[in-house]
C-alpha cells in the first residue's frame, strides 16, 4: 500500500511525465483548448497506459530484446484501437473533437517510455500501478494547462461561461502559440512548488554559512 501511494505521488508530482519529464508534448499542446478535451485525452491515454504496461510486463520474458520496440508498439496500438472504437461508440462528440489525436496515442512517447523504462523490467502489479500513476499525472498536467487556456482564452470552464458577456477573451490562448506560453508558465509554477522545500534548505544553509563567515571576520 505504501509503495502504491509512493508510485502515485511519483507519477503525479515528482516525476510527472508531462511537467517534469517533458514527454507527450504534442497532445499536451494540441488537445488542451478545453478542459473537457483535456480530461478525455488524459483518461484515454491512462487506460491505454494501464493495459499496455500490464501486458508488456506479462510478456516481458517472451519478447526478444532485439524486437522489443516493435512488439511494444503492436501491444500499444491494439489497446489504442480498442479505446478509439469504444469512444466512437459511447462518447461520440468527444471522439470528434479529439479527432486525429486519439489514434496518435499509439506514438505518445509517455506510453513507450513507461513500457521501455518500467513495464519491461518490473512485475505485473507494480507495472499496472505505474501505468495508472503516470496516466493520472498526464491527465493532471493536461487539466492544469487546459484550465488556464479555457478560462483566459474562452472565458469558460468546462463549457460554463464565467465572466458574462462583458469579458473579451484573449483568443491567443486557445491558439497554438497560447499553448506554448501557458505550458511554459505551468511548468515554471510546478517547478517552483516542487523546489520550495529544497529552496528553504538551501537558504538556511546559506544564511548559516554567512553567519559563520561574519563570526570569523569579527574574530
Amino acid at each position: 500500500m505504501k509503495g502504491f501511494l509512493k508510485q502515485l505521488k511519483e507519477g503525479i508530482l515528482d516525476n510527472n511525465p508531462t511537467l517534469v519529464q517533458l514527454l507527450g508534448m504534442c497532445p499536451t499542446l494540441a488537445t488542451t483548448t478545453s478542459v473537457k478535451n483535456a480530461i478525455g485525452m488524459g483518461l484515454a491515454a491512462t487506460v491505454v497506459l494501464i493495459f499496455s504496461n500490464l501486458f508488456i510486463s506479462l510478456l516481458r520474458k517472451f519478447i526478444p530484446k532485439q524486437v522489443r520496440i516493435a512488439a511494444f508498439i503492436v501491444i500499444i496500438s491494439g489497446f489504442v484501437t480498442m479505446v478509439e472504437l469504444l469512444m466512437k461508440a459511447f462518447v461520440y462528440s468527444l471522439y470528434q473533437s479529439l479527432g486525429i489525436f486519439i489514434p496518435l496515442i499509439v506514438v505518445n512517447c509517455i506510453i513507450l517510455a513507461r513500457a521501455e523504462a518500467y513495464a519491461s523490467k518490473n512485475k505485473v502489479l507494480p507495472s499496472a500501478v505505474d501505468g495508472l500513476a503516470m496516466g493520472l499525472g498526464f491527465t493532471f498536467a493536461l487539466i492544469l494547462v487546459a484550465t488556464v487556456r479555457e478560462i483566459v482564452g474562452n472565458g469558460t470552464f468546462m463549457g460554463l461561461s464565467l465572466f458574462g458577456d462583458g469579458y473579451a477573451p484573449a483568443l491567443l490562448f486557445i491558439m497554438p502559440a497560447g499553448a506554448f506560453l501557458t505550458l511554459g508558465f505551468v511548468i515554471a509554477a510546478v517547478q517552483k512548488i516542487r523546489n520550495m522545500g529544497q529552496d528553504k534548505e538551501r537558504m538556511e544553509k546559506l544564511s548559516k554559512l554567512e553567519e559563520e563567515a561574519e563570526k570569523e571576520e569579527t574574530v
Partner: protein
C-alpha cells in the same frame, strides 16, 4: 594590513596619468542607454503629436497608459525578482511608446495595459531584462494583442472625426479606404496612432541617423526591398507600377517599423552587412505577407521572424579578426 593597502594606493596614484595601461576597448563613447533612449523618444514626438491632432484625446491616452504601465511593470518585476531596478534607463518608456503607436486611438484602455505586461514581463524580463530579449518587446506585444482581440485592435476611428464617441471601426488605407497619395504621405488617414504620418516618421528617423543612434543599413535595405518588389511585381498582376509602389511604401506601419522597430539594437544584427541582410529579409517577408497573408498588414510579423534569425545572421557575418586567417584557409 592597513599599511599595505595605503602603500598600494600611493603607488597607484603615483603612476596615474604617467602611464595608463588598460585592456580594450580603447575608443570610448559618451553614449549611455538613457541618452540613446531619450533620443529615440525625441524622434518619436512629432509623430505622436500628429496622432493626437488627428485622433484627439484617445491618441494621447493610449500611448500614455502604455508608457506608464511599461515603466510600472518593469519596476514591479525587477523588485519581485530581486534584480537591480533599471527603470531610469528609459528603455521601458520607449517600449511603451512604440506599443502605444501600434494601437488604434479607441477607448479600449485595457489594451495598452495588457500589452505592456506582455512586452515587459514576458518578452523582456523573463528572458533576462534589457539586452537579452530575443524579439522586439513592443512588436511582440502588438502581435499578442492583435491575435487576442482582433476586433478591438482594428477599431480605428476616422481621422479628424470628433463627433463619434464610440470608436466605430473605419477603413484604413490598408483595408480599402480611398486616400490620395499626398494625404497618405502627410498622414491624413486612418490607422494606428503613430503610423499614419510618413513625413513626420521620416523626419524622426533621419534625426536618429544624424545623431548616430541608428545606421542607414536596415531602413534603406528594408524600404528598398519593398519598393523594388512592389514596383516590379504589383499585387494585381502587371508590371512596373510606381503609384502602387508609393502606396505600399506609405501605407500601414512600414515606415514606423523600418526606422524604429527593426533598428532596435538588441534584436538586430551587429555588422553593416548583417543589417543589410536583415533589412532585405524584413522587406521580402513584409511584401509576401501583404500579398499572400490572411491579414492586411505584415510588418510586425516580418520583423519578429527576422528578429529570430538575428543570431544566425550575426554568426554568418562575423568579421575576420584583424590579422587572422581568412575563412576556409
Amino acid at each position: 594590513m592597513n599599511e599595505q593597502k595605503n602603500q598600494a594606493t600611493v603607488t597607484e596614484n603615483f603612476y596615474d596619468g604617467l602611464l595608463t595601461v588598460t585592456p580594450s576597448p580603447h575608443i570610448k563613447h559618451t553614449a549611455t542607454t538613457t541618452k540613446v533612449m531619450a533620443e529615440v523618444l525625441i524622434a518619436l514626438i512629432p509623430a505622436f503629436v500628429w496622432g493626437v491632432i488627428v485622433f484627439g484625446l484617445n491618441a494621447f491616452l493610449m500611448p500614455a497608459i502604455a508608457v506608464a504601465a511599461s515603466v510600472l511593470f518593469e519596476f514591479l518585476t525587477q523588485k519581485l525578482l530581486k534584480k537591480p531596478v533599471t527603470v531610469g534607463d528609459l528603455s521601458a518608456a520607449v517600449t511603451g511608446l512604440l506599443l502605444g503607436f501600434n494601437l488604434p486611438a479607441s477607448d479600449s484602455y485595457f489594451l495598452p495595459v495588457v500589452g505592456a505586461a506582455f512586452a515587459i514581463v514576458v518578452v523582456k524580463q523573463l528572458f533576462g531584462g534589457i539586452g537579452k530579449n530575443f524579439v522586439n518587446p513592443a512588436l511582440a506585444a502588438r502581435v499578442f494583442l492583435f491575435l487576442s482581440w482582433p476586433d478591438k485592435m482594428a477599431a480605428f476611428p476616422a481621422p479628424f472625426d470628433r463627433a463619434v464617441v464610440d470608436a466605430v471601426a473605419s477603413a484604413t488605407p490598408r483595408s480599402g479606404a480611398a486616400v490620395s497619395l499626398m494625404d497618405l504621405f502627410l498622414g491624413k488617414c486612418g490607422g494606428s496612432i503613430g503610423e499614419i504620418s510618413v513625413l513626420l516618421l521620416l523626419i524622426g528617423g533621419i534625426y536618429l541617423m544624424v545623431r548616430g543612434i541608428i545606421t542607414w543599413h536596415i531602413p534603406v535595405a528594408y524600404l528598398g526591398t519593398v519598393a523594388l518588389i512592389t514596383l516590379l511585381f504589383p499585387q494585381g498582376g502587371g508590371f512596373f507600377d510606381p503609384s502602387f509602389m508609393l502606396f505600399e511604401l506609405c501605407s500601414g506601419g512600414l515606415v514606423l517599423g523600418a526606422f524604429f522597430m527593426a533598428t532596435d539594437y538588441v534584436t538586430s544584427p551587429i555588422t553593416g552587412k548583417g543589417r543589410l541582410i536583415f533589412g532585405v529579409g524584413c522587406g521580402l517577408l513584409t511584401v509576401f505577407l501583404r500579398y499572400f497573408g490572411a491579414y492586411p498588414e505584415g510588418v510586425s510579423f516580418a520583423i519578429l521572424v527576422m528578429n529570430c534569425l538575428v543570431w544566425y545572421i550575426d554568426k554568418l557575418t562575423r568579421p575576420r579578426v584583424f590579422g587572422g586567417a581568412r575563412h576556409g584557409q
